[in-house]
Symmetry: C2
């Protein structure tokens, strides 16, 4: 069956896009059929995969029901990896979509036609808890939360999990917290260590053992429109994301 992940955290700049692009790519390299869905108006996942941000077929047209998701998906440079690209028109959707009946289900409905074609779907979201993130969480089964080990991260997690609960009750009963991923981890700082301890205590079987280190190669790869594996496979960032993809695949098996 197709496993649908949503990667969300309203705290900005915590590595949502970097995690979606690199984990999805790692799974595609392992031979699985993978789709990345980009519903962030910034369209960072789209440009990180080397795809233009102004394609006429895109996630905005799909969400408002003008196009089918099957038509709008495009292949990427990575074999087995496809993308439903974002578009800046998504900025306007916060005001437009709520006029549509059953607006929280727009993405879930749109992805129905794609589920038979893929083993995994990874949805990237903007740093907010608004209309687009609600749609993404309604369309997915597993929530994956990237967290930077800094103070504001802890404050935001409680708010995010409350929002998840609300969506679970109101729109999507199969939604659950699947994994917490520590990103941009700097083992030299005490702060990172303390936040990690705190998270591991509160969420013992959700915090992934694989920690993503701060690694400049991960920040360089997007400017070449490539996932880390096509930019610098030997980097610490690439190795960590390979490990993480393996752990998530096994984490899956245990469920």
């Amino acid at each position: 069956p197709c496993i649908r992940y949503v990667v969300a955290n309203q705290k900005g700049g915590v590595g949502k896009t970097t995690t979606v692009v690199n984990v999805a790519t790692a799974m595609a390299i392992a031979g699985r059929r993978v789709l990345v869905v980009d519903v962030d108006p910034q369209a960072n996942a789209t440009s990180h995969l080397g795809v233009p941000q102004d394609l006429p077929r895109n996630a905005y047209r799909v969400l408002i029901g003008e196009q089918s998701a099957v038509e709008a998906c495009v292949p990427t440079e990575v074999e087995n990896l496809w993308l439903l690209p974002a578009h800046p028109d998504l900025y306007g959707i916060t005001l437009e979509l709520p006029q549509v009946e059953d607006w929280p289900y727009c993405l879930q409905r749109a992805l129905q036609g794609l589920i038979p074609r893929f083993d995994f779907i990874w949805i990237d979201t903007p740093p907010s808890l608004g209309v687009l993130t609600i749609n993404a969480m309604t369309a997915a089964r597993y929530l994956v939360v990237p967290i930077q080990c800094e103070y504001f991260a802890l404050e935001g997690l409680a708010t995010l999990l409350r929002a998840m609960d609300r969506i679970h009750r109101a729109y999507n009963p199969e939604l659950e917290l699947h994994a917490i991923v520590l990103t941009m981890y700097d083992e030299r700082t005490n702060l990172a260590y303390q936040v990690r301890q705190e998270l591991t205590t509160h969420f013992p079987d959700r915090v992934m053992k694989t920690v993503i280190p701060r690694n400049v190669r991960l920040a360089e790869a997007p400017s070449f429109g490539r996932p880390i594996f096509l930019y610098d496979i030997r980097s610490r960032g690439a190795q960590a994301y390979l490990e993480l993809a393996k752990e998530l695949l096994n984490h899956e098996a245990h469920r």
Copy 2:
């Protein structure tokens, strides 16, 4: 006269809150009367200044017109520095506020009563271009854009400046780009150097000479509810923000 700044960038985690809190504090320490307005539902600026995020008088009640801004402002630990605190209820405002007539002017109207009491007002915004950021940009004269020197930052700047132009034309003719601040700057990486060159070429008289280095003390200070100056005045982060505040004050004089 009271100078109103809005600090915005829809790219998440670039140092908006850190810049607002620390520059506002530096100006207050220099004897100016300063107000921080927090319209981010995450309420990070509120907690960074050691103020609870669930006060009954807050920016949400002020925006919907239930309370006056004068009533809702609270003093902080820093002399001359006051705060209009955020509240998680702001999460709902994206759907609520557009029902109000002239919704883009809610914050501008609310701040009218405060202008005589302060020399500077610094508005912190969420990582989006939605209703709250539009309100903040309509209420301010000067836009200050923190930017991390990484690839996605450049992509986002063009979108942000287009949004600024739209707001300038539609709601607030005095709004202008005042300063671009390079944050979390790591001089060891080539990427940071290239992005800095690119920005300095395109915006020669807007990019601040003071660059904020990556400095873990800046990330630690929020967990103590204090600006960097009350946490570690000798740190590189504190020194950089003192320099930046001086440069912004002088930048002001040149206008």
